[in-house]
């Protein structure tokens, strides 16, 4: 039997509606309060509902910027560095998101100068059971939004809105 081309259960998936700017704000506000802060206090400081905050915390944890333990948010060493630097923020994001889906698959498909679409990324990820939504059209648009907001923002992908195609930077 052919070996799957990436490990299935351990794949990191970026939450669908979280954006880079929200993660940056979260890390900066956490750092301004202290290196450790409890989630309700953080939600209060940010004026955000805990339900809104949780996926942003998931994304920040996936990026290695925070660690969430027993209701407390801790800034990691990388998170501390991220909070303090303005020049290297995008570089840190770029380094980290390349290992997270759907960016990892998009980069793989777009290797060697190939132009790809969000539909191709969605199809490839569906084959290994990774979906952000059960409806294929919504799943594709969520992946497209993630690729645009994170992929371009971090300087991993280029996008042409007229053709809807992505290329690797």
């Amino acid at each position: 039997m052919a070996e799957p081309h990436r490990p299935l259960p351990t794949a990191l998936e970026m939450p669908a509606n979280v954006r880079g700017g929200q993660v940056i704000s979260l890390v900066e506000v956490t750092g301004s309060i202290g290196r450790r802060v409890d989630i309700p206090k953080l939600a209060d400081e940010l004026g955000a509902d805990v339900a809104v905050l949780l996926p942003i915390l998931d994304a920040a944890e996936m990026l290695g910027l925070v660690r969430v333990e027993k209701g407390d948010v801790h800034l990691t060493e990388l998170g501390l560095k991220f909070q303090k630097t303005s020049k290297e923020k995008l570089k840190i994001l770029k380094d980290r998101i390349a290992a997270i889906e759907p960016f990892r698959t998009a980069l793989e498909l777009a290797s060697k100068g190939k132009q790809i679409t969000a539909a191709q990324v969605a199809e490839s990820l569906s084959e290994i059971g990774l979906k952000w939504h059960y409806q294929p059209d919504i799943n594709e648009s969520l992946i497209q939004a993630l690729l645009i907001h994170w992929g371009i923002y971090a300087g991993l992908l280029k996008y042409d809105g007229k053709s809807g195609k992505f290329t690797k930077v």
Partner: protein, 261 residues
């Protein structure tokens, strides 16, 4: 700093709103909206205008921009009376106001369409530069519908910056955004507008968010309910960056609330 602008020292008055009143006609009867409003905005100053909901804050901003003509009084930029929309005054709107069928770059270029003094190459260069300084490098060919709220507002900021304005008017620019996005964009926008990277010499912000005002403003002008008149003016001398958790910050927030109530 844009070419052609004479160096002006900090503290020089850039915008003067001089005894401005506005009446709308309602069934042939005048309905007073603004009553004898005066304020100034100086070089390198961010002036926040606040007041009860519906008091006419945004209307005042449109008068300053030249979009609405006051019934009496006038607005001057330096010594030049504002008689209509002009290239040295730009505005960023609450709801972004982007053309959905145009890409981010084309939306910024649209703001330059009346600049007959520029070639197409110069317009493109200006638009690309404005997108870059607004943090949207790489997003040139993305359509507004594909952008998040924060990024749409960055396009709005880029479009406003592309014309090399002397005066930047911000009409509740962060109120349509989620709290975390707004938090980040507030910091970035202030740093950007007050930096020598842009041509902007003064900023007038309309907002109902008192904490946002104390975080950003050098001066706060508080308006009454309609017909709006100035009930107080405060110089905010808190050092920057401002600590939103400090007691001093809350004292300033209270001062504004006491003028509002």
């Amino acid at each position: 700093m844009s070419e052609g602008l004479v160096q002006i020292s900090a503290g020089t008055t850039i915008v003067t709103v001089d005894h401005v009143s506005l009446d709308y006609l309602q069934e042939k009867e005048p309905l007073p909206v603004l009553a004898d409003v005066s304020l100034t905005a100086a070089k390198d100053e961010l002036v926040a205008v606040t007041g009860p909901s519906g008091c006419g804050k945004s209307t005042l901003l449109r008068i300053i921009s030249g979009l609405i003509k006051p019934t009496s009084g006038d607005v001057r930029v330096m010594d030049s009376e504002v008689k209509g929309p002009r290239n040295d005054i730009s505005m960023v709107f609450q709801n972004f106001v982007l053309l959905p069928w145009r890409t981010a770059l084309e939306n910024v270029l649209f703001g330059l369409s009346s600049r007959n003094d520029l070639t197409e190459e110069q317009k493109n260069a200006k638009a690309e530069n404005a997108l870059e300084i607004a943090g949207l490098q790489g997003f040139e060919s993305v359509y507004p519908g594909e952008l998040s709220g924060g990024m749409k507002q960055r396009v709005g900021v880029a479009r406003a910056l592309a014309t090399d304005p002397r005066v930047m008017l911000l009409d509740e620019p962060f109120s349509s955004l989620d709290d975390l996005t707004a938090e980040r964009l507030r910091k970035e926008t202030y740093t950007l507008l007050i930096s020598p990277q842009t041509s902007v010499q003064t900023v007038i912000l309309v907002s109902h968010n008192v904490e946002e005002i104390i975080e950003l403003a050098d001066k706060v002008v508080v308006l009454s309910s309609r017909p709006a008149h100035v009930v107080g003016e405060l110089k905010v001398d808190l050092p920057r960056p401002r600590n939103k958790q400090s007691e001093e910050f809350f004292r300033w927030v209270d001062r504004v609330y006491s003028l509002l109530s």
